[in-house]
């Protein structure tokens, strides 16, 4: 076999390795039996139908969605502001700032979660208020872990559109704000949509940080799933996961489309 043949075989292996667990989860969700065993004793949709009665999981889903939407909005606002400002500044130590935004990627999420918990707990003592657990502490934490995505993707976009189009706009008589609204942000649209979707997905799927920060009667979906798994072994979670996979898969498809769009735009600029 030639080298390219080996590469293909290796690629296929990675593909199988990555998709395998996903395929098995989807498969299990259609098993009829109430315990996990292979092979299937029969197939049914009963676990999907049963989701309607899973109030804990359902409430978790709604709560997660709420948190993810608010997180995405705040993270986009902060990440995009920072990306535009930094990509247009001649500030000394700019790379330092850039890297600070990427720090949450380097630190394991569980450490970030614990650190935030301790920090906010101590702060609660000082300000005489219960900062943790609370929805706002959860959102703050999610904003921190999603910032690397909203910042980095938008930063790349902001660098690639360059500053000449903005200068052209100023030169033709538009002020800074009008230029931002009419030129910079429209050109960043693909990055905004792409990074927004990423932020949503990471917030929605986060378990480690949320574990520390959710309030007892109000948990996110991943935390609710862990709690469910403590007492049940039926394929309900597989059904939940399948629903999630489909939703997130769709979001990724949309993100992918917009990020390709971005390439098309910057290609037009370079000519």
């Amino acid at each position: 076999m030639k080298l390219s043949g080996w590469m293909k075989a290796l690629g296929l292996l990675v593909f199988v390795f990555m998709l395998g667990p996903v395929a098995i989860i989807v498969w299990i969700s259609f098993f009829d039996q109430a315990y996990l065993s292979f092979p299937a004793e029969g197939y049914s949709l009963r676990w999907y139908a049963g989701l309607v009665d899973q109030t804990e999981l359902f409430r978790g889903l709604l709560y997660s969605a709420e948190i993810a939407v608010i997180t995405t909005i705040i993270s986009l606002f902060l990440g995009v502001s920072a990306a535009i400002a930094l990509s247009r500044s001649r500030l000394r130590g700019r790379t330092l700032f850039e890297n600070v935004f990427l720090l949450p990627l380097v630190i394991p999420a569980i450490i970030t979660g614990m650190a935030l918990y301790i920090y906010l707990y101590q702060l609660s003592g000082i300000v005489q208020g219960g900062l943790v657990p609370s929805t706002w502490s959860l959102i703050a934490a999610h904003v921190i872990i999603t910032l690397p995505w909203t910042f980095r993707l938008t930063y790349a976009g902001a660098v690639s559109i360059g500053t000449d189009v903005e200068r052209a706009s100023l030169d033709l008589g538009r002020g800074s704000l009008a230029t931002l609204m009419r030129v910079t942000l429209p050109l960043l649209r693909p990055s905004l949509i792409g990074s927004g979707i990423f932020a949503f997905i990471f917030s929605f799927g986060d378990l480690e940080i949320s574990l520390f920060l959710v309030s007892p009667g109000q948990t996110t979906l991943p935390v609710a799933m862990v709690q469910y798994a403590e007492f049940n072994v039926d394929p309900t979670l597989a059904a939940v996961a399948t629903v999630q996979i489909v939703l997130i898969g769709l979001l990724l498809l949309i993100a992918n489309k917009f990020i390709r769009f971005g390439e098309a735009f910057s290609g037009g600029l370079k000519q």
Partner: protein, 352 residues
């Protein structure tokens, strides 16, 4: 009437002096070129006029108003960028209408002006395209259309033809010149291409390392470059120093009186096409001609012409001779002669 005046403008970046006491006047309706090698400060000058760079000292006047402290959007200038900088998310019409909308011109007036401008630029059928759907030449025309649509008091162009192929460049040069006359447009144009500057400008400002070497009409700059740098930039390949005392140049056959004003220090420029190569004649004396003895060291065929390299009294000279007269060969001992009135007295360059 919109006259652009750059008054004693200076700019440094840190230690580096990028522009030193520039005084440039662009009278209404004139086409003035900033010409000079890369890095001499042309773009910086343009950016100071447009308001993107603040000068350290000096002022910019447009139509009599001091606009030095106004932001870019508060100046009645428009730039054609080197890379065009079209808005990629807008169709050609919206690109061209952009400045008019910013100026809150009435809707139907905008439509009319855009239409008219697209017609003048010959891109009317491209109105609904996006920039990425246009060729380089078409993008260039849209960039010009976008800038002239607002009828700026001063149109600023930064090497707008440098990304086009030679044929298109020649075509657009003529178009731009016509456009300028038609709109009576004041233009400050930047280029490093002397041919471009010579063929388009009413006046050329020759720059060298942040200083102005010479200002003049294309003819003045080409025929009478004043400094060693100007001469070199204008294709005067032979610059001979030493034997020049201000009004006369000592060559082997005596001293030749120079035309024009007396120069301070000794250098003489000779265009390669003005040098004639003749049989060695030790007894040659003439008031009309300057002559030096030379040896042919190189010969390059150029088609219509032949280019000779010569060694003469420690200088190396270049002569370009029509093919029909190019009967000399490498190793020949010759006299290199030039009409005294074709000698160009040169001062040392302003910037060192």
């Amino acid at each position: 009437m919109a006259e652009l005046l750059i008054e004693h403008v200076a700019k440094s970046y840190g230690e580096k002096l990028v522009l030193e006491d520039a005084y440039i006047k662009v009278p209404h309706g004139e086409f003035v070129s900033l010409l000079g090698p890369s890095g001499c400060g042309k773009t910086t000058t343009l950016n100071i006029v447009a308001g993107f760079v603040a000068p350290d000292s000096g002022s910019i006047r447009l139509g009599g108003d001091d606009i030095t402290r106004r932001p870019p959007y508060g100046r009645d200038t428009a730039i054609v960028f080197q890379n065009y900088a079209l808005f990629p998310h807008m169709r050609v019409t919206d690109n061209v209408a952009y400045g008019l909308r910013a100026r809150r011109v009435a809707k139907d007036a905008i439509a009319k002006r855009v239409e008219e401008t697209l017609r003048i630029m010959g891109i009317h059928d491209l109105a609904d395209r996006f920039p990425s759907q246009l060729s380089g030449g078409q993008q260039q025309r849209v960039a010009v259309a976008r800038a002239v649509a607002v009828r700026p008091s001063a149109l600023l162009m930064d090497e707008p033809l440098s990304n086009l192929d030679a044929k298109l460049r020649a075509e657009i040069r003529i178009e731009l010149r016509e456009l300028q006359h038609r709109l009576d447009q004041t233009i400050l144009f930047v280029t490093h291409d002397q041919e471009e500057a010579l063929s388009m400008s009413d006046r050329i400002v020759l720059m060298n390392r942040g200083r102005i070497e010479q200002i003049g009409s294309p003819d003045e700059l080409f025929q009478r470059p004043k400094t060693v740098f100007a001469a070199g930039f204008m294709g005067v390949e032979n610059i001979v120093d030493g034997a020049f005392d201000g009004r006369t140049w000592a060559s082997e056959n005596g001293t030749q009186t120079m035309p024009g004003t007396a120069a301070s220090a000794g250098a003489v420029g000779i265009r390669p096409s003005e040098l004639e190569l003749v049989e060695r004649d030790p007894n040659f004396v003439s008031d009309e001609y300057a002559s030096v003895q030379a040896t042919v060291t190189g010969r390059t065929y150029l088609g219509d012409n032949v280019r000779y390299e010569l060694a003469a009294r420690g200088d190396s000279l270049v002569a370009v001779v029509p093919y029909s007269k190019a009967d000399k060969d490498i190793g020949d001992e010759v006299d290199a002669r030039v009409l005294a009135k074709c000698l160009i007295p040169l001062e040392p360059s302003v910037a060192q």
